[in-house]
Symmetry: C2
Subunit: 285 residues, 2 copies
């Protein structure tokens, strides 16, 4: 397979840098072709602004979606953005790797999403009507490909558990997994999460590394999170609300948008946490 | 009161620009003192990198939290960051205003958080022990102040409703409201959300504007979201899990971290959506 790893950490000698190297080495040993977009090393420009749309008249009001759509259609997006879009089209698997900063991705990676996900490429795709609300959430430009997150946290696994103060990790990652990866069509794999990374001793690091290698070995086979396809019949259109008869009656919030009953080889009653890769050692104190 | 509005939209002539001007004008008419941090106009640097820590030796490994804490303690953070921290200390109320891009804030605003929220300022504050897990989630440097979001979306209100495909808006905003605003101590007010803003006619705009003026008039009096204080007894320490006997047995996910029963003048059974400002016109097609 072809794998694109988008990496967002400012220090190559960091734990994230080490995990990236381990992932790349394991993937290459398996015969996969790997490319890395190292956003800090590339000096990636994070902010969407007028400079992204060179064809926009100097005195024209910048309407981001419209400008993005026009530039994409005309092949007039900036070169850095076009290069990343080509890499996304090239790759069978996308991996986003980052430290969780303030419960989300670092700004430089958010800026990769904001800029690379152009209108006509990642959104604004397909028929928009009262019967089909665009090709998104399971359909779209990147359908048929797989994507997953590699995330590190300073906090403990318990702090991100079902009743943990930060909120459950799968809920915190839902806006990314569902809203950024599933949206343009990716099959989204369970995230790899390493907790409490500021306190890792050598044994802890080796444990995380081995878990990561194992995840890389199953990249092509592990079942994706069973999100519901927007245009698959579960949602009313155009209100895009889950039909009253769909969904686990006991479910609420983000979990409504999973159909665990339809997932092969998985208990219908499994909770979201069960699908997150957990580093067992992080339970140690 | 003193109000700081942090604004993150690249186009002054946008709807967001118009709403910002309306909010500022209303606040000033009420006698409040207002400052605006217009991140695009300031050419705010979004990414955390070595340049943020001038005292760091050129060959030293960058450990972000450690470097941030050392620079904050030594007064050695970059001038742009120090100026924003001073504004936060000056203001009684913080408003973050942004368009919802990919279910979160634009990169430039995330980068304001990543950089301004230094260790020792917004995190790493207070005693860290088995009885008190730092001053955060209701305590901290910014305790006693209020904060709120002003957010615009292209999508419909229904798409962000309890069963809407995007997920409930209050859940999507939880990582910001709870994880970024409540974390360093702010009392967090219900967000102001304007939906479907790409299709606003003049009547629609006037309706949003009037709702926003009303919210500005109640900035000092509206009850905050009743999040649970980390060190207030509801959580086990150090696992930081909500005690088994705490919380609505029917609640799960992010909603567990609210204590609506303790909120004055509010039904214990109110759902999160009830606390979001809703622009009624956005239901029109």
């Amino acid at each position: 397979m072809k794998v694109l790893l988008v990496f967002a950490h400012p220090e190559p000698r960091s734990l994230n840098g080490a995990l990236r190297d381990i992932a790349v080495k394991e993937l290459e040993a398996l015969g996969h072709e790997v490319r890395v977009s190292d956003l800090y090393a590339m000096r990636w420009k994070p902010e969407v602004d007028r400079a992204d749309f060179p064809a926009l008249a100097p005195d024209a009001r910048l309407k981001v979606a419209a400008a993005s759509g026009e530039a994409f259609a005309a092949g007039a997006l900036s070169e850095d953005v076009k290069a990343e879009q080509e890499r996304l089209l090239w790759a069978d698997v996308l991996i986003l790797q980052f430290p969780l900063w303030w419960y989300s991705m670092p700004a430089i990676l958010k800026g990769w999403v904001d800029r690379v996900y152009a209108y006509g490429f990642a959104y604004g795709v397909g028929e928009l009507s009262d019967r089909h609300w665009g090709d998104r959430f399971g359909e779209g430009t990147l359908a048929g490909k797989r994507a997953m997150l590699i995330v590190t946290t300073g906090g403990w696994e318990e702090h991100y558990s079902t009743r943990g103060i930060n909120g459950p990790i799968d809920d915190l990652l839902f806006p990314i997994n569902h809203g950024i990866l599933y949206y343009p069509g990716y099959d989204v794999l369970p995230p790899f999460v390493a907790y409490r990374v500021d306190r890792l001793d050598d044994a802890g690091f080796q444990s995380v590394a081995e878990r990561l290698r194992e995840r890389m070995r199953t990249l092509g086979s592990i079942p994706p999170i069973p999100y519901r396809r927007q245009n698959g019949g579960d949602y009313l259109i155009p209100s895009l609300q889950l039909r009253p008869e769909s969904g686990d009656p006991a479910a609420s919030g983000f979990a409504l948008h999973r159909n665990d009953a339809a997932a092969p080889g998985r208990d219908a009653g499994s909770d979201t946490t069960a699908n997150t890769s957990v580093c067992e050692f992080s339970r140690d104190r």
